[in-house]
Amino acid sequence: MSATQSLRASRLAKAVAIGLFAGLAATTAQANISDNEVRIGYLDDLSGPYSDLAGPGGYEAIRMAVEDFDNKVGDKKIVLFQADHKNNADLGANTAREWIDRRGVDLIAGLNASPVAIAVSRLVEEKNRFAIVSTAAAASLTNEYCTPNHIHYVYDTYSVSNGAAKAIVANGGKTWYLLSADYAFGHAMEEQVSKAVAENGGQVLGKARHPFPTSDFSSYVLQAQASGAQIVGLASAGSDLVNAISTAQQFGLMDAGQTMASLMVFITDIKSIGLQTAQGTQFVSGWYWDMNDESRAWAKRYHERTGNMPTMVQAGMYSSTTQYLKAVEATGSDDPKAVREHMIKTPINDMFAKDGRVREDGRMVHDMYLMQVKAPADSTSEWDLFETKSVIPGDEAFLPLSESKCKLVNN
């Protein structure tokens, strides 16, 4: 045998070996858990402006889900990591990359701030891992930026703004003034609300965009008052929202008959503003602790551990982690495609959602709720803050699949 021949033969042998090995690897990946552990990384804002609505509380919620599984799926241990991405897309993506490459993390959860969530969802697609976005709001996560490797669980900009605008116009709030935060989130909300108001026969009389963050809203409140609109729609979050509502109250905006409609509200915001100031504010939420026995029971457990009531995002983190672990258990695999397929097939019925379902674009569709902040006299306990005005069925609440821009949907 000549040298070239022997080289060819050895190449052939190598190719066969690689082929065999790859085939073997593929089958083991399907039936097995990588690294013999289910590794979950919680990546969110742990110290910044959103750390109350997600933050350390979100980690606690995920830990509760893991503990309910007795820290293992079958005989495979569940390992939990957490990191602060400080709402910075670079930091978030680098942390996620490090987790995937060096620690073999299978699921990345939490993910506040849309730019971070988008960066990480691209990364999990490239590396073939899984992500569940609970905190970030951008509807583009299941449209332009949808991937076969992540799902978007709790809510999105479409469901909170569209739902609120529709319901409020239907209740007679025909004229609007819009005040939004001057960055991607605010712009998206402003556009969606304007569209929804116009489609339902209302009219937007004026709008202003405030810098992020802003501490003094009096000037904008004055402009909103001058517009004479029935509804003042607010597309701001966190401390901006708190300041805007307090200022509106001080300047007698509500007393003069105008109604505030906040497009994105978390229970922690209202707790901070206080019922006296926030009463009457309407908004759309994906979950509230006082909805049914299951939600109350879970919220009570959470409260015992943290001293706070969970936000919809934190509840969603518990629910989504549980669903993920169930899917891993059922398929016996942490392969993202298999897990996602199982999650799409399985309806969600738990403390978070009834008949919730994950669509092929990754959107978890469930009922949303039009809420109103209670008056102080109607509140019976420290966390008794909202009442449900109406239920928005999941299919109306979220962008219909037929309008989806997701590459996984044939439109």
Partner: protein, 295 residues
């Protein structure tokens, strides 16, 4: 109706008034910075945190000791000022002989520690401080509804500014202070206790921040980040006004409040930038600031 660039004149009156109210905060805070810089030559980056301490002080006094707003208005600045005195006595004095940069770094670090611990204990959402009963409601003016509390902020803020100006420019103690700013060694030789004067000056500057914090508590959400959001703007105000001029700090504070207020009407998106734009212009034309002396 008379309009300017499509905005009704009456609406502008409202915005001017609001600008003055915000300006009162800028004036109070930049005044404290100017006083501290004048004598200690320290750029007090902890000023925002001390302002936040004032607001939290009012809130905690109310929640745990049931001390009402009016008492807090006197007690909290004293407490925050006392904390300032401890900071000067035990930390700043040790680095007084070093370059100013060290003072900046030290106060910056302190600010981060204070804010970080407050985030840890109180979360970032903050809490709401009720408006005192006597100041609830408002006046119905021709051009706007003016909440009584905002009017009070304007009166109290300007009152405190003028009091400070009077103390520094018109009293013997103020004369020592001004002289100490120029020639500390000479003052020491004349028998003035300069270390004590320095400590008290820092304490007073910090107390001013605490006072502004109490004033702010009922209108802004009391949260750990409230100071750092404001501080950068206040530094810009100080640069525009010029370091070391008391009246300059007051007038610039008010003027910047008004300019920012008007920007919110004509071009809302740039409201947070306009003050820095003015700062750049001033630095180009008068590097020592509008009212500053040669440094």
């Amino acid at each position: 109706m008379t309009t300017i660039l499509g905005v009704p004149l009456v609406a502008l009156f409202g915005q001017l008034l609001l600008g003055l109210i915000n300006g009162a905060f800028y004036a109070l805070l930049s005044l404290g910075l100017a006083v501290i810089f004048g004598l200690l030559r320290i750029i007090n980056f902890a000023h925002g945190a001390q302002y936040m301490l004032g607001a939290f002080g009012a809130l905690l006094f109310l929640q745990y000791l049931n001390i009402d707003y009016w008492v807090a208005l006197a007690l909290v600045p004293l407490t925050v000022g006392a904390i300032g005195i401890l900071i000067e006595r035990f930390l700043l004095r040790r680095i007084a002989h070093l370059d100013h940069l060290y003072g900046l770094l030290l106060t910056f670090g302190l600010a981060m520690i204070i804010e970080g611990s407050f985030v840890n204990f109180f979360g970032v959402s903050g809490a709401n401080y009720p408006i005192p009963e006597a100041l609830q409601g408002g006046f119905k003016l021709d051009f706007m509804f003016l909440p009584t509390y905002r009017a009070w902020v304007l009166v109290a803020g300007l009152g405190m500014c003028l009091f400070t100006w009077f103390m520094i420019e018109k009293t013997r103690l103020g004369a020592y202070l001004r002289a100490g700013t120029e020639k500390p060694q000479l003052m020491q030789a004349f028998g003035v206790n300069m270390p004590l004067l320095t400590t008290l000056t820092y304490g007073f500057g910090v107390a001013l921040a605490g006072f502004a914090g109490v004033l702010a508590a009922p209108i802004y959400s009391v949260s750990p980040a409230m100071g750092s959001n404001l501080l950068i703007v206040v530094f810009a105000v100080v640069v525009i006004g010029g370091m070391g001029s008391i009246m300059g700090a007051i007038l610039t504070g008010l003027a910047m409040g008004v300019i920012e207020g008007l920007t919110k009407v004509f071009w809302p998106e740039s409201a947070s930038t306009v003050i820095f734009f003015v700062m750049v212009l001033v630095l180009l034309v008068r590097p020592n600031g509008l009212f500053g002396k040669e440094v």
